[in-house]
């Protein structure tokens, strides 16, 4: 996709002067701050404010987008701060999502790279022009260095020229810096802008908001999805000090309990008695859901994703010297971000409302609130706050928790802010899940080479029935169910991929790396099994299928780099290596897992060596952190986590039943970044897909046990 140089200018209009709020929120009364365009504000003290259109769940866009502006503007990272953009899909849309403001698919940097550089460059040229006008010199001889306009024998802070610059016409084609000029982009010493406030308790997450007069609201929800409130008795709740009232939500999905503070709300909900109408509720168990998925794999798939004949591929495999086959199962998974879901709706003086939310996709809740509260769009404001993780959970197509808050607010007299709070139990039991999936694969190998790969996938579509259907579903195929298989950079002869959708089981949702969470596992475990059948080294074997295109070359390069850094083939005594490599969201990641022990006595994950090619690395240290985090997220879940249903109700309650990765689970991670001049791509998700299969392949190398059904703990694999 090409991003038009004019894209941001289309939305920017003329430069405007705004009465400024200082970053601390205090009104800078006598002074004015200037917005030079929608993405760059400068305070009267000369502090640059990057207006960040993506939310921050830890993945680093506040630092990344600020880096792009600071680079072009000619200021240091200590001279820039950030604020979150308001909800406005015409100006702050994700350029890869169309007219929709949101974060997802590891696109924050990819879609913003040119836009934010242009914004910074335009601001630079306006400031320089204003200085040239003031000094009566030619703008051509001036530049900005560390926040100072210099040239023609003069030097002055950009603060001097902010007001004048804001009155100039924005240049339509500002000159962008070239890579040889970059001070900040690619600089491994650049630190995160949010580190300090996140280490001294000052950072404000949605959960931390206390508005005057606010009511804390928790919802009693049906234990089975789809249950409806028949009646409730709040006489017990009324005994709780701080309880205000309880009321059935208009959609009957739950009872809202209002209280003066969080603990009172939790206690009042505990004391509430609710009768549920379960006639439309989910009643199945996860075993039944699994049985349906596994049965679907025994029939011809509904959809053919590769366009060739399955029977021809099957025949090629049947004629091979050896055939490896395996059936895989992936359970439901919860996202479980560290900050339980929450948001606050505040009534505004003009009859509108402000939603305070760690909003991953502001456009969705913006529209939902306008509809539910019968307000025009411009009377609904979204104030994005820091999010304590998400992994996809804060972006539901139906804006689930913001809708709950809106319904809970709608049935009050709308004079007091309503702060909706979820508990950890709510998060695990009433949530949205990575759908369960099954795969069945047969690979034929003759003379050391793959001669056919037959791959069937079955599971519940995430995208169908959502507003994202048009975007992700083609010819009936939800690409997010199979991504990473039919579009693999591996040059596999005779590859067939088929898909069958299974019935809607529970609410499902994208989960860090979406379809790649299961497809990479299957592709990479099968690659190892095929290599074994071929009598070949797993790295060499893979490289044999990674030639002939830039895509394949980039994947080969990360594989070689990870193998080299991990000293592949020379594991220390008592240790075993497993490898996996996968492309997702435009980025290539290879990982080598080094383990010791065995499945009966306990596996120790000694180290993960990771190599990544994500195009031009903007903030190398943030990239490393995302690789580390994505590896932990992937491995933590395959070790021991799953969501199970009994009679339609989730069986897990809280972290003890959904045990997070702990510090001792992975003893070391080292990350290596491929230097690249390709357009930057995402880093939030791509290290997750290869992490679990690298571990699985290492366990197989250590013990001969290939784990094909997850989590590993359910298959008898112990971890020390």
């Amino acid at each position: 996709m090409t991003i038009s140089r004019r894209t941001f200018l289309a939305g920017s209009g003329a430069a405007v002067l705004v009465l400024g709020l200082s970053p601390s929120g205090a009104v800078a009364s006598a002074k004015t701050d200037a917005a030079l365009n929608p993405f760059v504000k400068i305070t009267s003290e000369g502090k640059v404010i990057a207006v960040v259109k993506h939310f921050e769940m830890g993945q680093g866009p506040t630092t990344g987008l600020s880096t792009l502006i600071a680079e072009e503007l000619g200021v240091g990272m200590d001279q820039i701060d950030y604020e979150f953009a308001p909800s406005n899909p015409e100006v702050y849309n994700n350029l890869l999502f169309g007219p929709f403001q949101g974060t997802g698919g590891s696109t924050a940097i990819a879609n913003s790279f040119n836009q934010y550089r242009q914004a910074g460059a335009a601001a630079r040229e306006m400031l320089i022009q204003a200085a040239a006008d003031a000094w009566g010199v030619d703008a051509g001889g001036l530049k900005i260095v560390e926040g100072q306009v210099t040239g023609a024998g003069q030097t002055a802070s950009i603060a001097e020229f902010v007001v004048a610059a804001a009155e100039l016409e924005a240049p339509s084609e500002p000159r962008l810096t070239t890579p040889s000029e970059w001070r900040l982009i690619g600089n491994p010493d650049i630190r995160r802008l949010d580190s300090k406030t996140k280490t001294n308790g000052q950072a404000m997450f949605g959960m931390d908001l206390h508005l005057p007069e606010q009511m804390v609201t928790v919802i009693a929800r049906s234990p089975q999805k789809g249950g409806k409130v028949a009646s409730f008795d709040d006489s017990g709740s009324a005994q709780v000090k701080g309880f205000i009232r309880a009321a059935t939500l208009p959609n009957l999905a739950g009872v809202a309990v209002y209280a003066e503070d969080t603990w009172a709300a939790f206690q009042a909900r505990e004391a509430l008695q609710v009768e549920w109408d379960m006639s439309d509720a989910e009643t199945r168990s996860s075993d039944e859901i699994k049985a349906e998925i596994m049965a679907a794999l025994d029939f011809a798939p509904t959809y053919n994703a590769t366009g060739n004949e399955q029977s021809e591929v099957a025949a090629a495999i049947d004629g091979a010297q050896s055939v490896v086959e395996e059936t895989f199962y992936f359970p439901l998974l919860a996202h479980a971000p560290m900050e339980p879901l929450n948001c606050t709706i505040e009534p505004d003086a003009d009859g509108g409302v402000t939603l305070h939310d760690g909003a991953q996709m502001p456009t969705g809740p913006h529209m939902a609130l306008a509809q539910i509260l019968e307000l025009p769009m411009d009377k609904v404001r979204v104030k994005t706050m820091l999010a304590g993780g998400s992994f996809g959970r804060r972006a539901t197509p139906d804006a689930d928790y913001q809708v709950e808050a809106a319904l809970a607010f709608a049935i009050t007299d709308r004079t007091r802010p309503v702060k909706l709070v979820w508990s950890r139990e709510d998060d695990l039991r009433s949530g949205y899940y990575r759908p369960a999936f099954g795969h069945k694969v047969r690979v034929g190998v003759t003379d050391g080479k793959i001669v056919g790969w037959e791959h069937q996938v079955a599971g519940q579509s995430i995208m169908k029935g959502t507003p994202f259907e048009a975007f992700a579903v083609r010819d009936g195929i939800d690409h997010s169910s199979i991504e990473g298989t039919n579009d693999t950079p591996y040059q596999i002869p005779q590859l067939f991929v088929g898909l069958t959708d299974t019935k809607k089981a529970t609410s499902t949702l994208w989960w860090r790396s979406v379809g790649h969470t299961h497809t990479a596992y299957v592709m990479e475990v099968m690659m190892d099994m095929a290599a074994k059948a071929a009598g070949a080294d797993p790295v060499e074997f893979r490289l044999g299928y990674l030639t002939g295109s830039e895509d394949a070359d980039r994947k080969a390069a990360v594989l070689q780099l990870a193998a080299e850094k991990a000293n592949w083939g020379n594991a220390p005594a008592g240790r075993y290596h497993g490898v996996a490599v996968h492309k997702s969201f435009g980025s290539y990641v290879a990982e080598v897992a080094e383990i010791s022990g065995n499945p009966e006595d306990g596996i120790v994950i000694e180290n993960i060596t990771c190599a990544v090619d994500c195009g031009i690395p903007i903030n190398p240290d943030v990239i490393k952190a995302q690789m580390e985090g994505g590896i932990g997220y992937g491995i933590g879940h395959v070790m021991r986590d799953q969501i199970t249903l009994a009679g339609g109700a989730v069986e897990q309650f809280n972290f003890p039943d959904y045990e997070p990765l702990r510090i001792s689970d992975i003893r070391g991670i080292d990350v290596h970044i491929v230097m690249s001049e390709a357009a930057p791509t995402g880093v939030g998700e791509p290290s997750t897909p290869p992490s679990a299969p690298a571990l699985a392949n290492a366990i197989a190398a250590a013990s001969g046990v290939m784990v094909a059904s997850l989590p590993m703990s359910e298959e008898g694999v112990l971890f020390a």
Binding site: E56, M57, G58, Q59, G60, R191, R192, D194, S195, K196, T197, K198, T199, N200, G201, Q202, M204, F205, M207, D208, H210, V216, K241, D261, T262, W263, F266, A336, P337, M338, E339, P340, L386, A387, G388, G389, F391, S423, R424, D621, V622, A625, Q626, E628, G629, I631, G632, Y633, G636, N654, F655, P656, P660, L661, R662, I663, S664, D665, I666, R667
Partner: protein, 154 residues
Amino acid sequence: MAISLKLNGRETTVSAEPGTPLLWVIRDELKLTGTKFGCGVASCGACTVHVDGVPSRSCQTYIEDVEGAEVTTIEAMEDIKVGAAVQQAWVELDVVQCGYCQSGQIMSAVGLLAENPKPSVDDVHDYMNGNACRCATYQRIRAAIERASEILEA
């Protein structure tokens, strides 16, 4: 019910009902929101504070049990030598991602280094295993504890 405690060095009286977790008194009544709610059942460590110098899960500490105690939260860590060293190391190494667990991580790390200034990797694992980080910043937490130990030694 009025309960007195010493919060971050200051005599403080709160009016919570008996049975109220210290966490909610700190967050909702005293509006010190650096201490986080993650699970409510003592299994994530996000709510860790120091009670008489010992890291404690405030979600499972009842307010009546800290009558007269010294309670210290993340907001006061920069005033303590070990706390300041740990915070410095955390910033140097950019440990944080979403940041939501990090107050608790730091409170535990300070507790560890206060009693064991040169912990081994196993010591770190044992002490810090109760602090979950869903962003999996563990690699850097390990490194930052080592760095803080160096800072304190210098």
